[in-house]
Amino acid sequence: MQPHKMTRLAAAPAVLAGAAAMAADKPAVDQDAVDQAFETLKTYDWGTDRDKLNAIDDAVIATKGDAAARKQLETRLAAVLKSDASRSAKDYVCRKLRTIGTAESVPALAALLPDKELSHMSRYALERISAPEAAAAMRDALPKLSGALKVGTIGSLGVRRDADAVAALAGLLGDGDKAVASTAAAALGMIGSPEAGQLLSQSAKKAPEGLKPAVADACLACAEQLLADGKKAEAMGLYQAFGGEDQPRHIRLAVTRGLLKAAGKKD
């Protein structure tokens, strides 16, 4: 057993300050290496040495705080999405745009939403890009999507808690595709606004048997979000609207727990 004393770490505040200063010293972009990496992307595929793209990884880090350099890098990455590069190359690009993408790369990403092979990687970036254009692109794509691709896009709008998607999601609660309908409910639950709660409350009363568990979970999630946002009356109303005797025992207990919490009592 080692002695558990560490006197050498006593000067920690100084270490912290020094490190913060050091972190400010960013490495420079190796433009030749970046150019070579973009050249590699033209023929990049599964099995290609991934290290050949490291210069782009490094440029993502090095351009932090340099808007012009970032924009240039983003433009080059987005251009790959429009090219005939391989699935693997575009997969890589979407991963980078997840970190540095802006509204500028949204059109190139959005064009991939209906693509069975690349829809997910498009969302991999779009879900995390904070620009409102990213959410708008996914909302706009919904009517053109179906099946799993639609489910995935609905889920991403839910994760973003996109309040502007509520109307579109409301229209999907009665969708004939059970996966679409249940995911629309889940997304409304994640959004957690009073409007979403009202829609879920109405949906809970008429949901077919197969959808009830998903709608119930969405109601619970929505009510919790309403509570967290201080909207106690709306939360209690939602709990009371769907937590009837027709629900399974664990749902009814969850409702009781929620109501107690809303009333300020521990469960």
Binding site: M1, Q2, H4, K5, M6, T7, R8, L9, A10, A12, V15, L16, A19, A20, M22, A23, W46, G47, D49, R50, I61, K64, S88, D91, R95, R98, T99, E117, S119, H120, R123, Y124, L126, E127, R128, S130, A148, L149, V151, G152, T153, I154, G155, S156, G158, V159, T183, A186, P213, D217, A221, E224, P248, R249, H250, L253, A254, R257, G258, D267
Partner: protein, 415 residues
Amino acid sequence: MWHRDGTRTGSRSPAANRREFLKAAAGAVAVPYVITSAALGAGDRPAASERIVMGGIGIGNMGSGDMGAFLGRGDVQYVAVCDVRKGVREGARGRANQRYGNSDCKAYNDFQELLARDDIDAVHVATPDHWHALIVVAACRTGKDAYCQKPETRTLREGRLMVDAARRYGCVVSGGSQRVLEDYRGVVNQCWGGELGTIKSINVNVGPLPKPCNLAGEPVPDGFDWDRWLGPAPWAPYHPYRCSGSYAINGTSWRSFSDYSGGGMTDWGAHHFGGATFAVDVRELEPEEVVYHNDHGREHLTYRYPNGLLLYHNHPGAGNLQVEGTPGEKREAKPVPTYKGQGGIYGDFIECCKTREKPFRDIELAVHTATVSHLGLIAYELKRSLKWDQAAQEFPGDDEANRLVDRARREPWVL
């Protein structure tokens, strides 16, 4: 199904009906010949109606070990296994059926079918890490308790979702590191015993970091549901190294690759960070700051907790779980928390399934540990320092880092 008040209800399934029948029949003298001693209970084997009915999801290396631990318990009835590899799940089913001398255990490729059974009280989850949160949350939605292998999460956002689901449905959800309590007793006892005075810092040495994977495709073996193995992770062609459950983190196992694992930072990090934060008693906190250091190419981190405690990662020259106390100071000893029930971390989970108490490795505590790992991974990825807001679960004012709090899941998986 066991409930929070310690009672349990029956179900509509054939298996549960059998249990209800046995329970009722135990008091009847007219049909004694149909009641076996195995059903009534004998020795350390409680009556069938009093056992926790379990299923296992992901029966690879760790899952097989977990299954063995639960199978060995008299107070567990193991009735279902799920794995995307046909040979593995069939082997696991045979193992359970051999244990009980019957053919009751069923095998599933789709975990949702297993979770749809309302005769099952609890599951253990030992899939690759990128599946953990989805399955545990789904288990809670069906009212089932869950024992989840470590590391419990693959992203920061997943942790809060798992805790929320467990609390929403009143489920017992235990994380899976037995080492947190069992491997670092010397350090834990010194810290909790007050011998070191006020603790100022602790160091953890663990690695390596995960890497991206671009392995070429190979034919998918027969009986392997590759699409389901990938699940919410980005699509990629099959390669044996991509999905090997080997414990090596050197490019020959899923633990090496960032789509499925946080590498050693989360895999062993669950143990070491878990043990360290337990020893210095910050289990319920998350760091508020992570400082990234790069000393001439040697990267390491300093985490700062809200109470001022410092947690170092790979501090040059420091040993694993090396503690800096306050020389000459003694503090009052605190009782060290431990497992409930008998049988280590597995017994702790089963006992809590019965009593509805929180297990030693309650999911919320396990998630705080996983958060340490993920914060470190993001600091290393961005190569800079970060601030973290535990309550809001975000990096305040840091859009770039906040993008890495989660990752979009491949359709049709949504969380």
